[in-house]
Symmetry: C2
Subunit: 223 residues, 2 copies
């Protein structure tokens, strides 16, 4: 049985959980707060980051969300999410990297820092200017997603792919933290409603991080 | 014919060039300075980053160094660099991600910012405290590489892999910028000497970025 080390608002762990859900792979959640730099955790992953996925019977330790996703794609045939020609696979991976890197650093990470870490760990008030910057960046990323969806059924092309789940992972955490203003983004909103309705998304929307509560619309199918 | 948009000190472009060299794939270099945010370049890559690899006859546009590497692994059989079992491939990709992300953000990026961008673009003096921090981080990363090489012939295991080239790409740029102190890192030094002697490395070591010159030991086989 796989064990996934994560915390409820880690977007990279959400990406992995979507994939596990879509492929129908069972797993157990283990709560890990990477900012505590627990010795046993850093021994498993010297980078000190979640997610880490472990099969202690094998034993196998998989580190980094994209490493885990590529591993699952290579070893589990059901519901392929990096599929198609080499060029199409490159387009899926380009968007995954855009969401895992740019969207994360420009939107999700500052929101997590200001609204989660400062509250839970540093006991400081959030910096309003940083929050405004992150929400402005969120708006630009939604503009780009709107544009993609003007040309395509799903983000990377005609079929649902890991790119959709990578985007939904980042956006769902940002939305939980009140950083997403959906007004004026009809394409993105329709796409995100379809993502929210997937069975792999439901258990994640139902989870809560202690102390920090999401806005009312967060887990609603209509928002 | 592939065209690679890059600049001499972009570590991610170096990673791709190592792979192209090892696989014997011809390509043409196109100089791109991503900080200029040239319109035609941002049209190709909305993330505005190098490397981008283009085959204008197809046409195919590949964005992001790891996307390009996975594409080349899937389409060119010669000299596989992400090979072995799924678990071994995961270990290669874990290290690639460690070097592309952690080593880049903690070492290469601050060095590039202080010693390259501040000089070429902002006409400012480097910040000595940031440089010291980056060099201290470089030391920790070399400690980890020393430790890997205590247990393995190459960084990810018994065979040369993309992990070695991802590390060499970051380290070579940091070394060019005077950020690497090799003293006390005999394992890393021996490994890096072997990397430097590869034909795929030679043309890259011979290149210079305008205005900024590397230390004397930079392109020496003994250092
Ligand atoms: N490239 C990694 C990024 C993982 C990551 O940044 N995780 C965050 C939590 S969302 C973390 O552990 N941060 C703590 C740290 O970087 O020290 C992946 O895709 O898994
Ligand atoms: N994940 C990307 C990172 C590329 C990257 O950070 N490139 C730098 C140059 S070394 C860049 O273009 N920076 C300009 C910017 O981010 O605006 C890859 O692996 O290709």
């Amino acid at each position: 049985m796989w064990q996934l080390y994560q915390f409820p608002l880690c977007p990279f762990s959400r990406k992995v959980r979507f994939l596990l859900g879509e492929k129908g792979i069972g797993y157990e959640l283990i709560r890990e707060s990477p900012w505590l730099k627990r010795d046993e955790f850093v021994d498993m992953n010297p980078a000190g980051q979640t997610p880490v996925m472990v099969d202690s019977s094998a034993p196998v330790i998989l580190v980094d969300s994209q490493v885990i996703c590529e591993f699952l794609e290579e070893t589990v045939d059901r519901m392929p999410l990096i599929s198609g020609t080499a060029v199409h696979r490159a387009e899926i991976r380009r968007l995954v990297s855009l969401f895992d890197n740019k969207l994360y650093f420009e939107v999700t990470a500052p929101l997590m820092n200001e609204r989660m870490l400062k509250r839970l760990v540093h006991r400081q008030a959030p910096d309003a200017a940083i929050l405004r910057g992150a929400m402005k960046n969120a708006n630009s990323h939604l503009d780009y997603i709107d544009w993609l969806l003007d040309h395509r059924r799903w983000l990377a092309g005609p079929v649902l792919s890991l790119a959709d789940f990578a985007a939904a992972a980042q956006i769902s955490v940002s939305d939980y933290l009140g950083g997403v203003d959906w007004r004026g983004h009809e394409n993105s909103r329709e796409w995100y409603a379809a993502m929210k309705s997937r069975p792999s998304f439901q258990p994640i929307l139902a989870e809560r991080m202690e102390v920090i509560l999401p806005p009312d619309h967060y887990d609603q199918p209509d928002f």
